[in-house]
Each structure stands twice: as C-alpha cells, then as structure tokens.
C-alpha cells in the first residue's frame, strides 16, 4: 500500500517572477515498511525534493511550482499549516543531517524529547519521561536518566545523532525521513545506527526515505533506489537490480569511480569528467550530456524522461543494456 507518493514535483528558488528551477518533475512513491534511497551528489536536489515535499522548506525562497505530494491520502502541498504541524514529528519523523544545529542548545535533551512527545500525545510529564527513557535505551544510549539532564553540547556527535533519531521516532511515525543520518558519524557508529534503524523499521513497519550520497549505505540498507542528477531522477530500480545492472551512464560512472576495498592499485580510477551544471544553466537537453561518454546528438537537444511505472526505469536516450 502506498504511504507516500510524490508526483511530478517541481521546485524553484527565488521570486515568483524570476524562479530558478532546482527540482524538475520528480516522482517516486514509498510503501509501508519499505526503504527507498534517494542518492546523488551535493546540489542534485535530493534534500530540496524531500524537504519541500513535506513542506519543511520556507517559502519564499523555495516554491513548489508544480506537482503533488500525498501522505496517506492527505495532499501535503495544499494542506493548511495546522494540519502539517499535526503530522510533523508525529506521523512523519525527520532525522536531519546535522544534529548540532537541529537540537536547541539552550534546553536539555530531556526537555526537548518530552516536549516532542507531549505535543502530540495526551500523556503526563512523568509518563512522557518514562517513554523518552525507554526510547533512549532503544537507540543505544546508556544511562538515559543522566543524559536527560544534559545539554546537546555535552554529548558526542554519535550520541547527539542518536538523540535526533530518538526524537524522530518518539511518536512512532509511519514515515521516517532520514537525511544523511550517518554521514557525520564514524563507520563503526554508522554500522550501529543502521542496525538500529533496520530493527525499528521491521518492528514498527515504518516507511523510510533515506537521503544519502553514499552508495555503500544504499546497498546495505535500502530496498529500492532513485538516483538524482541535476534536479531529476535519472534512474530507479530495486537495489539488487541497480547494482547488478546500472543503465544510466551517470549511475555507472558513480559506481565505477568509487574506490572499493578490492580495487586494483595499478590502474587509475574511472572518473566522470567535468562538473554538475549549475541550476538555471541546464539547457534544453539532458543535463548529463556534457559529461557523458555515450551522448548522442539527440541528448543535447531534448531531455529524456523517466519511463513510468517500470521496475527499472532510466531517463536516457542511449542507456547501457
């Protein structure tokens, strides 16, 4: 059953008269209990897509210029603020990338977690503290009693990120949005956090939308993947399929350019020459054409669209087979 559906979402930045398109007709959907990875490099629009879909980006400057977003039948684009506030932190949980700027430095961890719970649930203060402690325990924080009294700056990066995750999960959301939840963490901690999210997903049946630039995290954690480039989804498939047979030249380039533990040292790494075009300078054709080794005449003139509803869809005039 579809939990979250984004349909042809377009987002621009700037004023109504001079808007620079940043996200261009992006569509994807997520079922209950499913994990979708949205991957791409910095500036590809992955965070803007998701944060504007759940209406967390301030407008202006961000403007939804087209498309629709539905969460459990609710149209988020037209929903009034009061309705959105009842969803945020409640049925939709968000783990932000930087826990240092997402927690309030002037309140204790306990205060912030209790507030997040009591905003949405009719529980007393002592009951709330009990639930908060149970959640801190779940996310692997030792001696939660003591942590509740502490301020964010007193915690290490790993602990802060776990507090963020506890806050996102405290109301048992149906949809968890995780924006690079482990990017700021060391690999041994990352492995612990991914384990935790996996077991909570299975237990609570959450849908998880994972925003990441790390193909390793995608391979280990996601059921399906959508690859973004310059504001568009260029390829989407089940995770095994995408890694087994990537079809878009960009996806292939990304996979080949990552050094792996078994990469031979005597050969240079594969590269994708050139750079991502800036928003507003993407031209009429495929945004990747300038950097693409398989580009045809047609690629520079006309932008390919993503095939609808196919299990493995690719937006390319000349995909690898």
């Amino acid at each position: 059953m579809t939990l979250f559906a984004v349909d042809a979402l377009s987002v621009g930045f700037g004023s109504a008269r001079a808007s620079v398109p940043v996200v261009d007709a992006v569509s994807f959907s997520l079922a209950k209990g499913e994990t979708l990875g949205l991957v791409g490099e910095s500036g590809c629009g992955k965070t803007v897509t998701v944060m504007s879909a759940i209406r967390l980006l301030p407008s202006p400057p961000a403007q939804v210029t087209g498309g629709s977003v539905r969460f459990d039948g609710i149209d988020l684009i037209t929903a009034p603020k009061a309705q959105l506030r009842a969803l945020w932190g409640n049925r939709i949980g968000v783990v932000f990338q930087n826990p240092m700027t997402s927690l309030n430095p002037t309140f204790t961890i306990g205060f912030q977690l209790v507030e997040a719970l009591r905003l949405h649930r009719p529980v007393s203060e002592p009951q709330a503290r009990e639930q908060v402690m149970a959640m801190l325990d779940r996310v692997g924080i030792n001696s939660p009693q003591r942590r509740l009294q502490q301020y964010p700056h007193e915690l290490s990066g790993g602990l802060r990120q776990r507090v963020m995750i506890a806050m996102a999960l405290i109301c048992h959301p149906e949809l968890l949005i995780a924006d690079e939840p482990t990017t700021a963490l060391d690999v041994t901690l990352q492995a612990q956090i991914l384990d935790l999210l996996r077991s909570l997903r299975d237990e609570l049946g959450m849908g998880i939308l994972m925003i990441t630039h790390d193909l390793g995290v995608v391979a280990e954690f996601c059921d399906r993947v959508a690859v973004m480039y310059a504001g568009r989804i260029v390829e989407t498939a089940a995770v095994h399929e995408l890694f087994r047979a990537p079809r878009h030249p960009y996806t292939r380039g990304l996979m080949e350019s990552i050094p792996r533990m078994d990469t031979a040292r005597d050969r240079p790494l594969a590269t994708i020459e050139g750079m991502v075009p800036a928003p507003g300078r993407r031209g009429a054709g495929c945004a990747f054409a300038e950097r693409c080794t398989r580009a045809l005449e047609r690629c520079r003139a006309e932008a390919p669209s993503l095939a609808d509803d196919a299990a493995h869809a690719v937006a390319c005039w000349n995909p690898a087979s």
């Binding site: 060391d186 901690l189 492995a191 384990d195 390793g216 995290v217 280990e220 954690f221 792996r260």
Partner: protein, 317 residues
C-alpha cells in the same frame, strides 16, 4: 630504498584548563622510505590529524623525535625549520578554507616560491603556468579568484601550491573527503600520477579505508593516539589482525547489496582521550577482551609480512 622520515615515540598532550591533558598522540613510531605512501586511518579523535601536524612541526611535540633525512626537526628552532619546510608540504581537507579568498590563483601558487626567494618574477610566472597545467587547470585560472572554482578545482589549486617547492613529502589530511565521489576519483588519480612522475612520498590521512588502501603502500591504523596495527596495505586488508582493524573493515558499507552483511561488530563510542582506559585502550569495546587487556598495555608484536613489517598491538598475538 633510503629512509625519508623516521618518527620515534612521538607524543603530544594538549593541557586542559584545570589540570589534566588530552593525550592526542601517545608514542607513535614508524619509518617511511622515499617514494613510499603511508596511509593513516582511524576514526575522529584518534589523533591522525595531530600526527600529521606534528610531523610537519606545525605544532611541537611533547616528546619523541621526527627525523627527516636524518635531521631531527623537533630540535630545530623556527628559523632553522623554515628552509626545511620546502621539502615537507601539506594538503588540507577543506579547499574552501585553505585558500585566501582575496588572492588570485596565480598569486596563491606563486606565494611559496616568493617566500623562499626562488627565481625572478618572470621565472616564477612560468613555474606557476607549468604547475597549473600539471594539476589539470587551465592557464586562465591564474587570473581568477578561488570562489570562481568548484571544490575539486580548488583542491587542484591547493595541490599546485603544495608542489611549487618540489617537496619530497606531502602530508595530505583527508584531501578528498569534502569532495563529491565523481570528483574524488579525479583528485586521487592526479595525486597518484604526481607520485609516479615526481617520486613523491605521501602521508595520506583519512577515515575512508577504501580510499587509503587504494593510494597506500603501507597502512597504519590508529586508535586513541596509538598505532594499533601497521603493515603492507594489501596484507592488512586481506588479513586484518587487530580486533579494531577487523571492526573497521567490517563496518564499511560496500556498494554491493549481495555482500554478506555483518552486524555492527563493536559497540559504544570512542573512549575519551583525556582519560584513556588502562591496559589496552580498545578493551572497553573489544569483543575479545580478557582480564590481561584491562590491566596491561600490549606491546607491538610482529605478525608476518616481509621483514616482519606487519605488526599489531594486541594480546591475542
């Protein structure tokens, strides 16, 4: 091969207000041959960046020595150190912060030459043009400011600047961590080509084991200020001995969904370098810890490799 660098029992303690100290680097020793690349891996707070800075004498050690071509840099006063610095250069993690935004790229690359009084203006201009070309930047780049360039291009400018004095050793501290993956491989390829063409040695510091392994001849794994395992890169990857090295390798998410997935092997956080645990520093997180590990710090043990080059600090061996 001749020894380029010899680090012996190097230590740095940063004093804390109100007593106590952070023992960021605590008794590190190794040798580096000319033309060799040594990779230093470890998680945040393990002391890898401090080690890099100590070797360049950007900060002075509390104990131990750093011999470069036989000369102990720790004994040299600042004035005697300056002429040595042309042989040892550094590339930083953040190419946005490492370049003065008000200077043009040409002036940035020329600056080291000017400081060391090398060449006439015309000669330096020629050298700048050559360096830019070597690093894959267009000649017009010289007249532009850093903000006009992307992260990858800025890192090329930093590399050109580091190369200006034809150093023998470059300490590269997370040189590709701030870059997107499609750009990372361009910079890694450039660094490898420079090593080949100029016989450079790198001390390559990174938290990314796959990147380090690709560029390094030998690998040193650091934990809480100490090198807990060191040896040929291939061998450490194929046969990691220290439980921490094993955990580190197991925790890397590989871009392969069919790889059998290990659950997180170690639990918990890095202990505080202010109060490192007694005995083996890894014992609170180690799945194999015994009573001995809690009380007695392990000594380096050779576990194989040619010339007993692979050693590990662990009571299991």
């Amino acid at each position: 091969m001749s020894t380029l660098l010899e680090v012996t029992e190097l230590a740095k303690a940063f004093p804390l207000k109100g007593g106590g100290a952070i023992h960021a680097v605590n008794g590190v020793s190794f040798q580096q041959a000319a033309g060799e690349t040594i990779g230093i891996v470890g998680e945040s707070g393990c002391g890898k960046s401090t080690l890099g800075r100590l070797i360049l004498q950007l900060i002075r050690p509390t104990a131990g020595s750093v011999r470069f071509r036989g000369k102990d840099l720790t004994l040299l006063p600042e004035t005697a150190l300056r002429p040595m610095r042309r042989h040892l250069q550094m590339i930083f993690q953040d190419p946005y912060a490492a370049l003065d935004p008000r200077m043009r790229v040409g002036a940035l690359v020329e600056e080291p030459l000017a400081i060391h009084g090398i060449g006439t203006r015309a000669e330096r201009a020629r050298a700048v043009a050559e360096l830019l070309e070597t690093c894959g930047l267009p000649a017009e780049a010289a007249a532009r400011h850093p903000h006009e360039f992307s992260g990858g291009q800025r890192q090329r400018v930093c590399i050109a600047r580091a190369l200006a004095l034809s150093p023998e050793l470059i300490v590269a501290d997370e040189p590709v961590s701030a870059l997107d993956v499609s750009i990372q491989s361009q910079i890694l390829n450039l660094m490898m080509a420079l090593k080949r063409d100029r016989g450079l040695s790198y001390l390559f510091i990174s938290h990314n084991l796959a990147v380090v392994k690709y560029v390094s001849d030998r690998l040193a794994v650091m934990y809480l200020g100490r090198v807990v395992e060191m040896g040929p890169a291939e061998e450490i990857y194929a046969d990691p001995r220290h439980p921490y090295t094993r955990a580190l390798i197991a925790a890397i998410p590989e871009p392969d969904p069919d790889r059998p997935r290990d659950h997180a092997v170690v639990q918990g956080d890095l202990s505080s370098p202010e109060n490192p645990p007694p005995g083996c520093r890894f014992h609170p997180r180690c799945p194999h810890a015994t009573e001995r590990c809690r009380v007695e710090a392990p000594r380096p043990v050779a576990v194989g490799g040619r010339d007993r080059a692979h050693f590990v600090e662990c009571h299991l061996y």
